[in-house]
C-alpha cells in the first residue's frame, strides 16, 4: 500500500465543441495522501472541477474525453475501468458533494429515502436497517431531531441543512475518498463555517482523504493539509498549506492570496492577480504595498459628503396567509422599520445573511418593490410620493447592479443594445451614431473593448458580464448606485478587479453606493459606513472600521467570527 490513495499521472481532458477542441486539463499529475485533506484551488475554467470529475469518471462524453494519463486508485487505473466497476466505486469508495444543495437533491423523495438508496445499493441493507442507519447519519451531520427529519422533503430544509444531507449521503458508505466541489460557495458565512467544521470532524472520524475544490484560498486555510493551485488547465504550484500561505512561489498563487479582502487590513485598492503576473503567466514586478496592517480610511466631509439619501422607517411586509375574505392574517416582515442615511460620494455597506431583507430593502429604495410604509428621501424629496412619470425621470439618477451577471442581461440583446437602451429611454445622445460612440466609451471605461458592442451576453465570461452591467448602469450618468451582491457570484480574483473598478468609478463620477453583501470582508474593504441587518431590522450601524473593531450586537460578533481567517491552522496563534 502506498501512502497515496489516488495518484493522477499525466492526465489530459479535452472537450470537443462547435468552436474547436478545448484542452480543459493539460498533462496534470497530483496525488491524494491517505487520511489527509487536499485543497484544489483555481478560478472558474481552470480545470479543477474537470480533474475531480475525471476521478469519478463522470466527464460527460461527448463532448469531453480523457485523452491521456492514468488515475491510480489503490493501484488500479480508473481510466481503464469499466462502467460496472466504476459504479461499485462511485458513492461507495469515492463519493462527492456538489456546490448547489438546492438542485442536487431530488425534490420528490424524502431525504431519508435518498440516503437509504445509497445504502441499499452498495451495502445490501434492507429498508429498515437502511432507515436506521440514515437516522444515525443525519444525527452525525448535525441535523436536529433526525427521527422526524428523515421523513422531510428537501424543500422543507434550509440550504445549510440540505448540504448536511448531501454530506450524510456522501459518507453513508464510509468512503475512502470524499470529493467536495465548492460545497460552501452557495452558503452564508455562518453556515459555511459550520459545514467546514463538520467536514473537518468527519474527515478525522472516518480517516477519509478529502479533495476540497474551491476558488477561494481563504476557505481552505483552516482545513487543508496540502494545496494544489490550478491555472488554465495546469497545476502551477503544490505544497503544504503552510508553504503556500507563507512562501508562495508562483505569481498566480501570490495574486490569489493578496486579492482577497481581509478583516485585518484595509488597503486603498485591492491587489489583483494581474499585478503579479502578466498575460503569458510570467512574474511581474509590482510596487504594491502588501503590508497587511495598512489601514486606509476615507475622510467624511460634511460639505463634500452631505447626506443625500434618507431612509426613514421603511417597511415592506408581504402577506403570508390570507383569510376566507382576502383579509391578511399573517405578514412576513421582510423589511421592518429601517432608518438609514447615505452620504454623497461615499459607500454604505449593508450586511446580513440570506433572508434578512437586505435585497428587498435595496429594491424598495428604487421602488422596484413598493414599500408598505416609511419615507425614502432623496435630495430632499420623498420619492415614495412620486407618480410613474416622475419616478421614471428619477431612475436616471438611481441605478442598480445585480448579483448574477448571467441573469441580469437579456440573452437576446447585443451588449451594445443593452447599454444603449437606457439612453433611448431617457433620450440621451443625438441619434444612433452618437449613442454607439457613447456606449463604446463606456465599454472602454469598464475595461472592455469597444469592438465587442455587437456581441451577445453568452459570449462573455462572468466577470466581463458584470462589467457590462456596470457600463449599462453608468449609461444614464447616475448619482447613486445600489450594488446588490454584485461580486458574490464571481471568483475572488475577478472580484478584486470589479471592486477596484467600482472604487475608480466612484472617484471619477462622484458616485454614491449602497453595497449589499453577505461577505463582511468585501463590505469592509469597499464601504465607509456599514449597517448590519438581521430579520428585517438594522441591528447595528457604524463606520467601517468601528464596526469591525468594536462590534456591539451579538449577531455582528457571530458574523465576524464566522469569516474564514485565511490562516493555516498550524500558523494560528495558540490562544484562538
Amino acid at each position: 500500500m502506498s501512502d497515496h490513495i489516488i495518484e493522477v499521472k499525466d492526465l489530459s481532458v479535452e472537450f470537443r465543441t462547435d468552436e474547436g477542441t478545448v484542452k480543459a486539463v493539460k498533462n496534470v499529475s497530483f496525488s491524494l495522501p491517505r487520511g489527509k485533506t487536499v485543497g484544489l484551488v483555481g478560478e472558474s475554467g481552470s480545470g479543477k472541477s474537470v480533474s475531480s470529475l475525471a476521478i469519478m469518471k463522470l466527464i460527460p462524453n461527448p463532448p469531453g474525453e480523457i485523452t491521456s494519463g492514468q488515475i491510480l486508485f489503490d493501484g488500479k487505473d480508473l481510466v481503464k475501468a469499466s462502467d460496472t466497476e466504476m459504479r461499485k466505486v462511485r458513492g461507495n469508495r469515492i463519493s462527492m458533494i456538489f456546490q448547489e444543495p438546492m438542485t442536487s437533491l431530488n425534490p420528490v423523495f424524502t431525504v431519508g429515502d435518498q440516503i437509504c438508496e445509497t445504502l441499499m445499493l452498495h451495502q445490501s441493507l434492507d429498508k429498515t436497517a437502511a432507515t436506521k442507519k440514515a437516522i444515525e447519519l443525519l444525527d452525525q451531520v448535525g441535523i436536529p431531531n433526525p427521527t422526524e427529519r428523515v421523513k422531510s422533503y428537501p424543500h422543507e430544509m434550509s440550504g445549510g441543512q440540505r448540504q448536511r444531507v448531501m454530506i450524510a449521503m456522501a459518507i453513508a458508505c464510509e468512503p475512502e475518498i470524499l470529493i467536495a466541489d465548492e460545497p460552501t460557495t452557495a452558503l452564508d458565512v455562518t453556515i459555511q463555517k459550520q459545514i467546514l467544521d463538520l467536514l473537518a470532524d468527519l474527515q478525522k472520524k472516518y480517516n477519509m482523504s478529502v479533495l476540497f475544490i474551491t476558488h477561494d484560498l481563504g476557505v481552505i486555510a483552516d482545513i487543508a493539509d496540502e494545496v494544489i493551485v490550478m491555472y488554465r488547465g495546469d497545476i502551477v504550484e503544490t505544497g503544504t498549506c503552510e508553504q503556500i500561505f507563507t512562501h508562495a512561489k508562483h505569481p498566480y498563487t501570490k495574486g490569489l492570496l493578496a486579492c482577497r479582502p481581509s478583516l485585518e487590513s484595509n488597503p486603498e485598492r485591492l491587489p489583483m492577480v494581474s499585478d503579479f503576473m502578466d498575460e503569458a503567466g510570467n512574474e511581474k514586478s509590482h510596487s504594491l504595498d502588501l503590508d497587511k496592517v495598512h489601514k486606509y480610511v476615507r475622510p467624511i466631509d460634511e460639505q463634500k459628503n452631505p447626506v443625500i439619501l434618507q431612509i426613514k422607517g421603511v417597511k415592506k411586509h408581504f402577506p403570508m396567509q390570507k383569510g376566507l375574505f382576502g383579509n391578511v392574517k399573517t405578514w412576513l416582515k421582510a423589511v421592518d422599520d429601517v432608518t438609514l442615511n447615505v452620504r454623497r460620494g461615499r459607500t454604505l455597506g449593508l450586511v446580513g445573511e440570506s433572508g434578512c431583507g437586505k435585497t428587498t430593502l435595496g429594491r424598495t429604495i428604487l421602488r422596484l418593490i413598493e414599500p408598505t410604509g416609511g419615507q425614502i428621501i432623496y435630495d430632499g424629496n420623498d420619492i415614495t410620493t412620486y407618480d410613474r412619470s416622475k419616478m421614471r425621470a428619477m431612475r436616471r439618477k438611481m441605478q442598480i447592479i445585480f448579483q448574477d451577471p448571467y441573469a441580469s442581461l437579456n440573452p437576446r440583446m447585443t451588449v451594445g443594445a443593452a447599454i444603449m437602451e437606457p439612453m433611448v429611454i431617457h433620450n440621451l445622445g443625438n441619434g444612433k451614431a452618437e449613442r454607439i460612440e457613447m456606449a463604446g466609451d463606456l465599454m472602454d471605461r469598464v475595461g472592455l473593448s469597444r469592438t465587442m458592442l455587437n456581441r451577445y451576453p453568452h459570449e462573455f465570461s462572468g466577470g466581463q458580464r458584470q462589467r457590462i452591467c456596470i457600463a449599462r448602469a453608468l449609461a444614464v450618468k447616475p448619482e447613486f448606485i445600489i450594488c446588490d451582491e454584485s461580486v458574490s457570484a464571481l471568483d475572488v480574483s475577478i472580484q478584486a478587479q470589479i471592486l477596484n473598478l467600482l472604487l475608480d468609478l466612484q472617484e471619477e463620477f462622484d458616485l454614491t453606493y449602497i453595497f449589499i453583501s453577505h461577505d463582511l470582508a468585501v463590505v469592509k474593504f469597499i464601504s465607509d459606513e456599514v449597517a448590519v441587518m438581521y430579520n428585517g431590522k438594522v441591528v447595528e450601524m457604524n463606520d467601517a472600521v468601528g464596526i469591525y473593531e468594536n462590534p456591539q450586537h451579538d449577531y455582528t460578533k457571530k458574523l465576524l467570527s464566522a469569516i474564514p481567517k485565511g490562516i493555516p491552522k498550524t500558523l494560528m496563534p495558540a490562544s484562538t
Partner: protein
C-alpha cells in the same frame, strides 16, 4: 509597435464592430446541420410554391373544368390521380386543396398565436386581477367543446374559408396562451427584466422588447404545432360539411366524397388527398421537432 498604434487609431475613428453570434443564429446553424429538418423545410417550401403557382393559374388551372364524359377515370398519364364524378382532374383538385389547407393553417394559427401571445403575456406579466380575468376567460372558452364552437361560428357567419380561419384561430389559442403565461411569470422576476425596470423601461417595453424575444421560440414551436392541428381541423370540418363552402377544392371534401366512391372501387380521390396531407403534416411535424431541439436552450449542449 507601429501596427498596433495604427490599429488603435483605426478602431477609435471607425469602430469596426466585431460581429456577435446571436442565439437565433446558433439555432439556425443547428437546424442547418440537421438533414431531416432541411428536407422537411424544403418539402414545406415545395407546398408553398405549388400553392402559389396554382393560385396564379400557372399550373393546374383545369381544376374546375367539368366534363361528364370523363367521370371516374382511373389514374393514367393524362390524369395521374384519375378523375372524379364530374370528370375533374383529381391531382389538380388536390393541389388546389393545398391552398385551402395552407391558408387555414397560416391564418388560423396566426390568429391563435397573436391572441394567445398577447393575452398570455399580459396575464403572466401583470398577474393579479388581469391574470384572474384572462385565466377565467380562457378556462371558459376551454370548457366549450371545440366542434360546438366551430359549428356556432359556421351558423353565424356561413361556411367559408374565412369562417374556418376565424373558428380555428379563436379556439386554438388557449393552449398557447397557457404556455406563454407560465413563461412570462418565470421571466418577469428575472434580473434582466428588473434591471430594465430600474432603467425606467415602461411595461410595454419590458413585455415586448425584453421578454418577448426570450419566449419567442415557444411562439415558433407552438405555431408549427398549431399549424398541423389547423390543417387537420380543416380536413375534419370539411369532411363533416362544416368547412369551406361547396365547390372549393379541399382535402376534407375529397375524403368526404370518397365515402360514397370507395365501394365502387374509386380509391384515387381518397389516396390523393391523404398522400398530400400526409407529407405536409409529416414535414411540419419533423420540422417542429428539429425547431424545438434547435431553439430550446436547455437542450443546447446535448
Amino acid at each position: 509597435m507601429k501596427a498596433t498604434t495604427m490599429n488603435a487609431v483605426n478602431v477609435a475613428s471607425n469602430p469596426q464592430l466585431e460581429q456577435g453570434r446571436s442565439l437565433w443564429y446558433d439555432a439556425y446553424l443547428r437546424i442547418k446541420k440537421d438533414k431531416v429538418a432541411v428536407i422537411s423545410f424544403f418539402t414545406i417550401c415545395f407546398y408553398l410554391v405549388l400553392t402559389l403557382l396554382s393560385s396564379l393559374g400557372v399550373i393546374f388551372d383545369n381544376y374546375g373544368v367539368v366534363d361528364n364524359s370523363l367521370t371516374y377515370l382511373p389514374p393514367s398519364w393524362d390524369h395521374w390521380f384519375g378523375t372524379d364524378l364530374f370528370g375533374r382532374d383529381v391531382l389538380a383538385r388536390a393541389v388546389h386543396g393545398t391552398k385551402t389547407s395552407l391558408v387555414v393553417g397560416f391564418a388560423g394559427t396566426g390568429i391563435a398565436m397573436a391572441i394567445g401571445t398577447v393575452l398570455g403575456a399580459c396575464s403572466g406579466y401583470f398577474g393579479g386581477k388581469v391574470d384572474d380575468l384572462i385565466v377565467w376567460f380562457y378556462t371558459t372558452i376551454d370548457t366549450i367543446p371545440y366542434i360546438l364552437l366551430v359549428v356556432a361560428f359556421s351558423f353565424v357567419l356561413g361556411p367559408s374559408l374565412l369562417t374556418l380561419c376565424l373558428a380555428i384561430g379563436l379556439t386554438a389559442w388557449v393552449r398557447h396562451c397557457r404556455i406563454v403565461r407560465a413563461e412570462y411569470i418565470k421571466h418577469r422576476d428575472l434580473d434582466y427584466v428588473q434591471g430594465a425596470a430600474a432603467l425606467g423601461a415602461s411595461h410595454a417595453r419590458r413585455i415586448f422588447l425584453h421578454i418577448l424575444p426570450n419566449v419567442f421560440h415557444l411562439v415558433l414551436i407552438n405555431f408549427s404545432l398549431g399549424f398541423v392541428g389547423a390543417v387537420k381541423s380543416e380536413v375534419i370540418l370539411s369532411f363533416l360539411g362544416l368547412g369551406v363552402e361547396p365547390g372549393t377544392p379541399s382535402w376534407g371534401v375529397m375524403i368526404n366524397d370518397a365515402k360514397q366512391e370507395l365501394f365502387r372501387g374509386v380509391w384515387w380521390n381518397l389516396a390523393a388527398a391523404t398522400l398530400f396531407m400526409f407529407f405536409l403534416v409529416l414535414a411540419f411535424n419533423l420540422f417542429t421537432d428539429a425547431l424545438r431541439d434547435a431553439l430550446d436552450p436547455k437542450l443546447k449542449n446535448k
